[in-house]
């Protein structure tokens, strides 16, 4: 029988391993739950907003043919 660990974020938080995020994480074999930490939802949303800004900057640069 295979046992798979599932992590659930508490209300108002998101789990992250530093690069990816999830409210529910089906952990791969051999990955420790300690790899993940909870962050406030506001912090997660700020990270997503940062992606938006990054894209806008990049698109502007690309459109300028630099």
């Amino acid at each position: 029988m295979r046992v798979r660990t599932v992590l659930y974020a508490d209300e108002g938080t998101m789990l992250t391993n530093g690069t990816d995020f999830g409210a529910v994480i089906w952990l791969a074999d051999g990955v420790s739950p300690d790899t993940y930490r909870a962050i406030p939802m506001e912090e997660y949303e700020a990270i997503l907003a940062g992606r938006e800004a990054e894209e806008s900057d990049e698109a502007g640069v690309d459109r300028a043919w630099n």
Binding site: R2, R4, M14, L15, N17, T19, D20, F21, G22, A23, V24, I25, W26, L27, A28, D29, G30, V31, R51, E55, A59, D62, R63, W65
Partner: protein, 273 residues
């Protein structure tokens, strides 16, 4: 002192212009018009023009201009490098004179920010001929090919190969169907489907062997599409993850079905948002 032009002079000028544009034989040619009669007289000019072949050659000229534009842009059908070629274009459908077949160079932003584009059709686009398509560098991948196509609904199998998928479909919130995308275990994936909130149908071929596939925005992604993604995950990698929409997964699978499906790839962490 300012020159005063009376209404009578304006009307007289209009009447002269109408008469000048009528054929000599027309019964109105030598007639004077009251202002009230002028609209009908102008209509006579149009009717006469149509009767005498005013539009003759219009469609031929239109076709000639279409040909001239595309022959120039696509080098009489010989163009094989298309990076940035159609960025910011306003077309709804990609219907060029010659099929778009990039062979060399990158295809970055090929249709980027085509905000009216509805569909990318295989009849007009073939991305499968690129000589360096297996290269995983950003220079030869599918970098931002459809980024910002806010009305794009469907991408047929246009031969997207296992090049670098960097923001390929980012900011395509109307995108419903992507017929096929192809990966190999080295294919880099980064923000490929960000903001694709309408995505339902996605078919994956090959093997996903890198981090970064994030479908968290696609709440309506079908069960078969999710299964296609899971089936494509490499069995030999370790420490990698993908991200899916929790809503989509819960709508498509029972807990038992989901456990079975994810059980196929115990070497992957699966994140649900």
């Amino acid at each position: 002192m300012a020159k005063v032009v009376t209404d009578d002079k304006h009307y007289g000028a209009i009447g002269d212009a109408i008469r000048e544009n009528l054929p000599d034989s027309h019964y109105l040619k030598g007639v004077g018009f009251t202002p009230a009669e002028m609209p009908a007289a102008i209509g006579e000019v149009r009717v006469t023009g149509e009767d005498t072949g005013y539009w003759c050659g219009y469609s031929e000229g239109e076709q000639a201009e279409y040909d001239r534009m595309w022959d120039m842009l696509q080098q009489n059908g010989n163009r094989n490098a298309y990076s940035y070629a159609f960025i910011d274009w306003g077309w709804e459908y990609i219907h060029p004179k010659y099929k778009i077949i990039p062979v060399v160079d990158q295809i970055s932003y090929l249709f980027g920010f085509n905000i009216n584009l509805k569909k990318a059709e295989a009849q007009y686009i073939d991305l499968s001929q690129r000589t360096s398509n297996s290269d995983t560098s950003s220079a030869t991948g599918n970098n931002c090919v459809f980024i910002g196509c806010s009305e794009l609904e469907e991408v047929e199998d246009i031969g997207m190969l296992a090049g670098y998928y960097y923001r390929t479909f980012r900011k395509c919130p109307a995108l419903h169907t992507v017929a096929i995308v192809r990966f190999n275990s080295a294919t880099m994936i980064y923000q490929m489907f960000d903001n694709c909130s309408s995505l339902v149908n996605l078919s994956v071929e090959g093997t996903i062997g890198q981090n970064g596939l994030d479908l968290q925005w696609s709440n309506s992604l079908s069960g078969s599409s999710i299964a296609s993604v899971i089936h494509a995950l490499s069995k030999t990698t370790a420490g990698l993850s993908i991200t899916l929409s929790e809503t989509a997964v819960n709508n498509a699978f029972t807990a038992a079905q989901w456990a079975t499906l994810t059980g196929e790839k115990p070497n992957w962490s699966i994140h649900l948002v």
